[in-house]
Symmetry: C2
Subunit: 209 residues, 2 copies
């Protein structure tokens, strides 16, 4: 039975795809409603404004991802953290579970995160930190437990390098995947990408200063 989507969901689906591909500012309501096949005015009817739509899109992913991640970090904390890779592995399942929202959910979410940081979307950073700041803190604590030789400042920067490497590859992902496919005959699924990333990131985070 083919599910008939409500207007609100059609808008969300179209918006998350376009936001991930093009960024927030660079995606117009006309594009979104065009692809969603709904009327232009319906975005404002259902969400109030473009800014509110952006937050609704992020919210749907955040609220699926963050609690899942938190559960795994709490478990890990309880049994004791011994390696950086252990911490990063906590991300795998929560990230892959986003494919239940959308077949490209994983890479959409990471792209959205990238755009949220690099565009002038201060409100998004604040929004994230207010709602899920405690998960970020727990993550930081775990990494520090795995790397007692590193100062908090060094960790802070390395975790942002980590975020950067991850989201950049997603944001510029289409172009990169095309090159990779042409040069190495490789398909790069979200799962493959994560598998490639983790050894790189774990080694980088734990590197001697």
């Amino acid at each position: 039975m083919a599910k008939v989507l409500k207007t609100k969901d059609k808008i969300l689906n179209a918006a998350e795809r376009l936001f991930a591909e093009q960024g927030f500012e660079h995606t117009s309501l006309r594009q979104i409603t065009g692809i969603a096949d709904v009327n232009l005015a319906s975005v404002n009817y259902h969400f109030g404004s473009k800014k509110a739509l952006i937050q609704a899109v992020m919210e749907r992913y955040h609220s699926a991802f963050m609690p899942e991640l938190d559960i795994r970090l709490v478990e890990l904390e309880a049994k004791g953290v011994t390696s950086t890779e252990q911490v990063l592995n906590c991300f795998i399942e929560p990230l892959l579970s986003l494919q239940r929202i959308n077949p490209n959910g994983t890479s959409i979410y990471l792209s959205l995160l990238g755009h949220a940081y690099s565009e002038i979307q201060g409100h998004l950073r604040r929004f994230t930190m207010q709602n899920f700041g405690h998960v970020v803190q727990r993550f930081l604590a775990c990494v520090q437990q795995a790397n007692p030789h590193l100062t908090l400042s060094t960790l802070f920067w390395r975790l942002h390098f980590t975020l950067g490497a991850t989201v950049f590859v997603q944001v510029s992902g289409q172009a990169l995947s095309e090159i990779a496919e042409a040069d190495f005959g490789e398909q790069a699924s979200a799962q493959d990408m994560i598998a490639k990333l983790i050894p790189f990131l774990a080694a980088g985070i734990a590197a001697p200063v």
Copy 2:
């Protein structure tokens, strides 16, 4: 003696700053000419179009950076590459020398690179590869010499993680620097940032698969 800048240079200086801070699409000609204190029409008179202005801004940095990097890579190739860190060190001086163009030259250039990748600026990627593809190739060859245990495909991805970590931190740099300063009382100059990056990146690139 205070140098009086020509209109063309005033435009370039204002444009590179705004492009680095906000991205290309998100910066208007009115902003640029407002800050440069020149007439709106002068951009089109001197450069022809906004697209041509973008390329002129990139060109000024590319042509200062790429040949410098190439010289160092050629030297290194000649005496034989033994470590990843050696290769990355080749970037330091060329990057820092960009501060002769502009006191913030290093971080402006890296930000521009980030925006060039993540915005839909296909023409910029092509432009770069056409003019400086051989430098990129030489860099890849050096890294491979330092890491004979890695396949070309693995290297390809890790070098993009590297680029991502680097440009992301620059693009979202202002926000991060503010947080870092608040939390650790640290100033993060371009030179400091590079010093923090290199151990992270070298360990990540050379990590076991």
